[in-house]
Symmetry: C2
Subunit: 438 residues, 2 copies
């Protein structure tokens, strides 16, 4: 087609030149008339038609043997679109950059869009997206205009957490266990799926390892297949009972390989190894986050984690259970800070691992005090024997994330706890109401 | 049926009593005649038939609601067989106890033999049985009279290593990758399958993790299914670059989770975790060995491990390559010592993990010296930069195995190296012969 077009263009130029060399009676208009009188003769003269055919064959051959050229054409078109959005008045690049900007910064996924299909919105899958952290991440991704697919097996996730998106056409919820492969077409994979609190991950330790290792293998395989960017949420538990304090990302950890918590700790460590190996050997774009203790609305009420335990115990007027002497420390990160960090990591250029946590350290006794101050001044405490392998202290060094992701947590415990308590209060009320209804 | 039989027995007794109370003309024989004349009347009189039916119902109910009773009858028969073999003249319990003794001490596997099938020989599967360590283990198991099944994918294993058993009807070789499930009926599973030298396990790190995690999951699943005892060969690499020296089994290790060696180190750690979880949660009888550097005949000639490197280099009149400054230490265990340890562990009562290694420590420079002394006095050395994450020293504390398994290595380096060199010399000659044949 191109070749044909070129040919006819050349003809026109020759036609335009001709009048100048010819006698005045031939006006441009009359020339056109005369040329239209014998077009077939003209075409068949001097092997013109033969050359048209040869040209068509050459053109076809190029596209037959180099099908990627069609893609280039398509990409060029799309890139123009990107450039248009790119040259919009200077916008500061922040963590909450919009969908259009992100595609401008990251032209990679567009190569996958089949020719002739208009560039669509960013598609993101969040495994474990009906869980505590996942659902908050989904809220932000939905708010910025993504198409969001949530995968959850609802072992610890709850439909309630994403119920407000169910009637949005950009949202989709799939009941699926990541231990089995799944084929999707997406641009980004946030792989969060795994029970994260000891009471849940110890419930079936073999399943926990399968989720962490086979689940991660499946999602990395998907990322490789569809050329999607992959982010895994690892955990501060990879540091085990750390001998370094605070923990830097370069610390190798102090983990018992054969203890009752190992299914989670070792499972996540192997998931990190797999992620790095897919990066090094398969060229998959990966991101690794190591999440420290996080709290906020939608946490499981009774998952055995200290913040949710204390808050729900205080709200139920029960004594707060402190394991051991209460001098072990934890750092507590509000969930919106974590979600900001995850998105900054996914959109950034660095693989990680990155510690995402709040470095402000609290002993269990101090935490109980904050709960008293912000939720119920009459709350009491009780002490119990500590569980096996419970780390004595855990505190992130977040200087790497500060420097490379320009991220740090903003919400302090005194501000975050009341927001969580409000959600817990409503759910506990609903729960009690449910009991009365029965 | 039982009830019916009992009933008819009672009838007979009553019938036998009757003649005494009746007139002489009724001989037993004539009585039988007379009773056979009206059996239906007799049966239907006085609700006899009704009671037969009630009895049948009660009998059936017992077996319907207590199906284990049928099993008890069957088990009793089997147990008698054990007692008979158990009361044989007192035999000392040693590591190399014979097949019959072992089943006597360990009545577990016989429970699986279907009723009516004669007790067979001990059946053992060795995954990775065509490899270096596996094939030596197979030699000992075959020598003691087991039926041995070898599973190998021949990634690093070689048919040559087990070729001398191929025509033995007690031996079977299956080409199979443990990453896929396999169903077998065996009594013991020695799970050795995994490439063990860095050059092999780094070749495809993702496959190495799959072999360690999914492979171990499959074999543990098999052990659970068929109630077999399961032994996994873990590695001193679970200690990583140890900060404790020598390493006790209680040491948690110092392993980089995201390095280039992690596929093996973390893979094996997770395999240990899985093994312990199958023990704790599924009741599978497991054994964990942590193998330290081992050498001997049938090692790969060029697998990058220091002993095989040095020996084959010395035999080929090449300089021995020393990475780094040569002051990093290793302990070297002769393969027959390891095999003794593995069998002692499998037959013993302790789960482990147990360090199996030779605590005698050599620097790389000292090792080169021993090679010079025992193989070629003219051997030379050359130095190269060390590889990433290479542990600086590694030495087992074997007091646990000494105490609980009554095991310790017997063959020292000066004695073992010449045996290995003899095998290597033959293979290198064959190799060169092969090159000439080509």
């Amino acid at each position: 087609m191109k070749q044909l077009h070129k040919q006819s263009h050349t003809n026109q130029r020759r036609d335009e030149e001709m009048p100048n060399n010819q006698t005045p009676p031939y006006s441009p208009k009359s020339y056109k008339h005369s040329s239209s009188r014998r077009p077939l003769n003209y075409l068949f003269n001097e092997q013109r038609f033969l050359f048209i055919i040869i040209g068509m064959m050459i053109g076809s051959m190029i596209f037959i043997f180099q099908p990627s050229l069609s893609a280039i054409t398509a990409t060029t078109t799309t890139t123009n679109y990107h450039i248009n959005s790119h040259i919009m008045p200077s916008m500061p690049r922040s963590i909450s950059i919009s969908h259009r900007e992100r595609t401008a910064f990251n032209p990679r996924p567009t190569g996958r869009v089949p020719v002739g299909i208009t560039r669509r919105r960013m598609r993101t899958v969040v495994t474990g997206g009906a869980g505590f952290v996942g659902s908050h991440l989904v809220d932000v991704l939905m708010a910025r205009g993504d198409e969001v697919i949530v995968i959850d097996n609802f072992f610890t996730g709850r439909k309630d957490n994403v119920a407000h998106h169910l009637d949005n056409p950009r949202f989709e919820l799939i009941r699926h266990d990541v231990v089995q492969p799944i084929l999707l077409e997406v641009d980004q994979i946030y792989h969060l799926a795994c029970p994260a609190s000891p009471v849940h991950y110890k419930y079936n330790p073999i399943k926990t390892i399968k989720t962490n290792v086979i689940g991660t293998l499946n999602m990395l395989g998907l990322a490789k297949r569809i050329n999607a960017r992959f982010l895994i949420t690892s955990t501060s538990e990879v540091y085990g009972d750390p001998l370094e304090h605070p923990q830097k990302e370069s610390y190798w950890g102090h983990v018992n390989p054969i203890g009752v918590r190992s299914c989670y700790d070792e499972g996540k460590r192997t998931a990190e190894t797999l992620t790095m190996d897919y990066s090094r050997n398969e060229g998959v774009e990966v991101r690794i986050a190591r999440i420290f203790n996080t709290y906020g609305p939608r946490m499981c009420l009774d998952d055995g984690r200290v913040v949710s335990n204390f808050v729900s115990q205080a709200l139920r007027k029960q004594p707060m259970t402190i394991y051991g002497d209460g001098k072990q420390t934890r750092s507590f990160q509000y969930v919106s800070d974590l979600v900001d960090g995850l998105i900054a990591l996914m959109e950034g250029e660095h693989i990680g691992p990155f510690n995402l946590g709040n470095p402000r350290e609290f002993t269990m006794l101090e935490l109980a005090q904050v709960v008293k101050e912000t939720i119920d001044p009459n709350a009491t405490t009780e002490f119990r024997r500590n569980t096996a392998d419970d780390p004595q202290k855990r505190k992130p060094d977040i200087s790497k994330a500060k420097q490379l992701l320009n991220w740090e947590p903003k919400i302090q415990l005194q501000d975050g706890l009341p927001r969580m308590a409000l959600d817990f209060k409503n759910r506990i009320l609903k729960e009690e109401q449910g009991d009365i209804d029965k």
